[in-house]
């Protein structure tokens, strides 16, 4: 396998090293620290577009060669692996025991587990399965002296010491390279089903409310804009009976239970559905398509979080925000992904984003000086240059504390400098 020697991180080209072991990686960190070089952690390089460009000169440290299974006691339903392992490889290993780490990842054959952790990747199944923070049991990170530091453990229940792992999930590698982790696993379900429900534009809220109180217990409750539904159908190799907004509801579990839920859902949504419901039963391609929707599309990508009850409103605004848009709203969590090709000649991207960002505030909190509620992040910005204000918005109340933690754990600002929130 020939590994790339250079990588372009948002327009900054850095030289990449490929340590073969955790120790070697540690030594490289140590050396870089001595030399005053920054360290940019690289996994599968599928999501380097997130965050901000590097600010300090430094080297890339690629974890891809660290991909051993350290321990897989299948009956304990835990696995300990090195984090350069790709998501697909882990899936393969686990499939042998009919188990899974049920976290969606759009590009599993390239994305590494370390990258997935650093970006806190999640997708549609988060409604039923939660996110990485619900699966990470133990984590080893290389510290600013190049020493491995671990927290947590290998058992499913453990409260010894601070749960440092949580800190690193979604930290974009700013607190050190992640090299090894133990995950809790789930059994693979016997059957799965996706139900694609066409919705009239005035029925979106009703659909969301119904899903919150219906008889079924879905693992996916998504709302797809017309653009997203079209894209989903294309990826899944299906033809949509009808254009427009769609509800996408997923089930898994025992076959009988899945069948019962499909039927019940159909009954419950009878008056809501604007047309024929498309049911995709045990259709691996459909799930892959749904996961792939989380990958980069259009020139610009946005990701927002709001109270679940307000996600329909924001999803609507995001749909009309840009031409060629697509919106996928995870209604249970209130997390919304959107893409499009916005026209920045009329209004700069920053203005557009700030307007949407304001809208992401829960109505009753909008007047408060301190943003407490929703957030909106620019995942990709096309040709527009990225800065902290545009990408992340203004700092929140707990930001000084985060900055202090960063100062404590990485006083020399070695790890991914400049790439996350200001001072992190």
């Amino acid at each position: 396998m020939s590994e790339p020697q250079k990588i372009d991180i948002q327009g900054h080209v850095v030289t990449v090293k490929h340590p073969a072991t955790q120790e070697e990686l540690g030594q490289m960190v140590h050396a870089a620290a001595q030399a005053g070089q920054a360290i940019y952690s690289v996994g599968g390089a599928t999501r380097q577009y997130l965050g901000l460009p590097p600010v300090n000169p430094g080297i890339g440290l690629c974890t891809r060669k660290l991909d051993r299974v350290i321990d897989y006691p299948a009956r304990d339903m835990t696995v300990t692996v090195e984090l350069g392992m790709t998501v697909a490889k882990l899936r393969e290993v686990l499939a042998g025991e009919n188990q899974d780490l049920p976290i969606d990842c759009p590009d599993p054959s390239r994305a590494t587990l370390g990258g997935l952790l650093a970006t806190n990747g999640s997708g549609s199944r988060r409604h039923g399965y939660g996110t990485l923070r619900d699966y990470l049991l133990g984590l080893t990170v290389i510290d600013d002296h190049g020493r491995p530091t671990k927290s947590g453990g290998r058992v499913v229940k453990n409260v010894a010491g601070y749960d440092m792992g949580k800190l690193h999930i979604g930290a974009l590698g700013t607190l050190g390279p992640l090299v090894q982790a133990t995950f809790k696993l789930k059994p693979r379900p016997e059957a799965t089903a996706l139900s694609l429900v066409p919705l009239a534009p005035d029925q979106l809220e009703a659909f969301a409310n119904q899903m919150n109180q219906g008889q079924t217990r879905p693992i996916v409750i998504d709302l797809l804009s017309a653009g997203a539904a079209r894209e989903f159908a294309r990826l899944a190799g299906q033809t949509l009976p009808r254009e427009g907004w769609h509800g996408l509801v997923g089930f898994d579990g025992a076959e009988m239970a899945v069948r019962w839920q499909l039927q019940t859902l159909r009954d419950e949504l009878r008056s809501l559905a604007a047309g024929e419901v498309l049911e995709l039963v045990s259709h691996a391609g459909a799930w892959e398509a749904l996961t792939a929707l989380g990958g980069p599309r259009g020139t610009t990508g946005l990701r927002a979080g709001v109270l679940p009850g307000e996600s329909v409103g924001l999803a609507r605004s995001l749909e009309t925000w840009a031409p060629a848009s697509g919106v996928v709203a995870h209604l249970g969590a209130g997390i919304i992904n959107a893409w499009g090709d916005p026209d920045t000649s009329r209004e700069p991207l920053l203005g557009q984003v700030e307007r949407l960002r304001h809208q992401a505030q829960p109505k009753r909190l909008q007047d408060q000086a301190q943003p407490k509620g929703g957030w909106l992040v620019v995942t990709r910005s096309g040709p527009t240059a990225r800065d902290a204000r545009m990408v992340f918005g203004s700092a929140r109340q707990d930001h000084p504390l985060m900055a202090e933690i960063k100062r404590q754990l990485d006083p020399g600002c070695l790890f991914n400098p400049g790439r996350y929130l200001t001072d992190l």
Binding site: S151, I169, M402
Partner: protein
């Protein structure tokens, strides 16, 4: 420092604090303070100088700032059910009791969360939302008494965490009074705001990062149906094999709890539930979910149990029967007092497949030290609560119990487990931290604590073994057994 100086300082402290919380917002007389010298862990005691009962965040801030000004240590306390001495005022100082902050501030079913003050008792929250068909999932056995704030601080688990996860999986955010008196909101009802997941870090920090003054918790819909089974086994081995096989079959039960023969005897003597006295172990196995298919799942569990030589598997047919079964599981602790005048419980974890091995070693430890050990545990999680029975009036037995406990926990570590699954490190297990973690690991944790709690005035002597924090020799503090509630 001389006694008079200390008194003077205390008097100033009391004057300060009275201004903030009012005369009925604190206690400082020796008799009243006595009650606060320990929590559910009674091996170590130390009286605080003052206990304050703030009624709102602002009062907590006032108290914390006053403590900072006077350089007095302080620590939060919920219901004091900690089994690890989390509420022990190491070095004295001020206990900040959250017992008067008991309001459920907001219940938002549509958005699946509630906002509560830290002193709200765990079951109150579920009681509040149960008529709507929702609940708060983490259910420590102490849930009728412990507070949500305490649960957050210790990352509590319970019988149903096997399927639903522990406290951290259900906390969306907190308002935190930092050790320097600043108030910050971390997380909140909206998930995943950009930045570090400080919520995840604060959960389980055992009060060393400040005082949690509000909590946003996730609410969970009640399952449509529940089936509870009772399996009776000839041996602990058969029971543990059943557990492994159930999990291996891809079933995720809501709970898998085991009681061994010794415990059964006590339960039977106490309550006469009708458990067979000659059984080696019983398993309480619960599945929940949709009505459709749940009987199949229960039947699968039943056949796995029977295949593993269960003598009998019975089902709770009514809600009343189910409650009775759960009661017997929870009441079991109380009965332990009948087995011996004193007992000491541990909170070890091993990978669940190693349970049979662990139990065999434990059996051996029990024989070698001539100490009876009763077992009751969250079998599905591999979280054991071995209860060592002895008579504290016999120093030789006390010594043997200490050694046996030590050996048990060391074995847990050797088998890849942990010395605490849910009760926390507190002061009790602080000396095990260097066995679990390298100096570098501990340094990283210390650095994080430094970010929150640079002066160390907040909950000193907890969680991390920092030099100088404890005066008593480690060996003496480690494992003093005694009569203690198991969980």
């Amino acid at each position: 420092m001389t006694a008079t100086l200390l008194d003077e300082k205390t008097a100033i402290l009391i004057t300060h604090l009275t201004k903030i919380v009012g005369p009925d917002g604190l206690i400082s007389s020796p008799a009243e303070l006595m009650v606060y010298e320990c929590d559910g862990y009674t091996m170590e005691k130390n009286r605080p100088e003052v206990v304050v009962f703030p009624r709102c965040t602002e009062e907590i801030v006032g108290v914390v700032k006053a403590c900072n000004e006077l350089g007095v240590p302080f620590l939060p306390r919920g219901s004091g059910t900690s089994l690890a001495g989390g509420c022990l005022p190491v070095g004295g100082g001020v206990i900040i009791s959250l017992a008067r902050m008991r309001k459920i501030l907001e219940v938002d079913i549509r958005n699946r969360y509630a906002l509560v003050e830290p002193g709200v008792i765990n079951t109150w929250l579920t009681n509040r939302v149960k008529n709507d068909g929702w609940h708060y999932a983490p259910d420590p056995s102490s849930q009728g008494a412990c507070t949500i704030g305490g649960n957050v601080a210790t990352n509590s688990g319970g019988p149903h965490t096997l399927k639903y996860g522990v406290t951290v999986n259900h906390i969306l955010g907190v308002e935190l009074v930092l050790p320097d008196g600043r108030v910050i909101q971390i997380g909140g009802p909206v998930e995943e705001a950009p930045g570090y997941d400080l919520t995840g870090l604060v959960v389980g920090s055992e009060g060393t990062f400040g005082v949690v003054s509000k909590v946003w918790v996730r609410l969970v819909r009640n399952p449509q149906s529940v089936r509870t089974l009772l399996g009776i086994f000839e041996s602990v081995d058969d029971a543990t094999r059943t557990i492994s096989e159930i999990i291996g079959a891809g079933i995720v039960p809501a709970a898998l709890e085991m009681l061994d023969n010794l415990i059964l005897g006590a339960v039977e003597e106490a309550f006469g539930f009708g458990f067979p006295l000659d059984a080696g172990a019983v398993l309480i196995m619960e599945v929940d979910g949709l009505e459709t298919g749940i009987d199949d799942e229960a039947a699968r569990i039943e056949s796995i149990a029977l295949k593993n030589k269960a003598r009998k598997v019975s089902r709770a047919n009514t809600e009343a029967e189910r409650m009775l079964l759960w009661k017997s599981r929870k009441q079991a602790f109380g009965a332990v007092g009948r087995l011996a005048p004193s007992y000491c419980t541990q909170d070890g974890v091993v990978p669940r497949t190693r349970l049979p091995e662990m139990l065999r070693i434990m059996h051996d430890i029990s024989k070698r030290h001539d100490i009876r050990i009763a077992n009751i545990f969250h079998a599905g999680d591999g979280n054991m609560h071995p209860i060592l029975l002895f008579d504290e009036r016999d120093p030789a037995q006390v010594q043997r119990v200490m050694e046996a406990s030590h050996e048990i926990l060391d074995t847990c570590l050797k088998l890849g487990g942990s010395v605490t699954g849910e009760h926390g490190i507190g002061v009790e297990k602080i000396d095990f931290m260097p066995k679990l973690f390298s100096p570098d690991d501990l340094m990283a944790m210390t650095r994080v604590r430094q970010a929150f709690n640079p002066t160390g005035l907040c909950s000193p002597g907890k969680m991390l073994p920092t030099a100088g924090a404890c005066s008593e020799p480690a060996a003496a503090r480690q494992l003093k057994p005694g009569r203690r509630a198991p969980h």
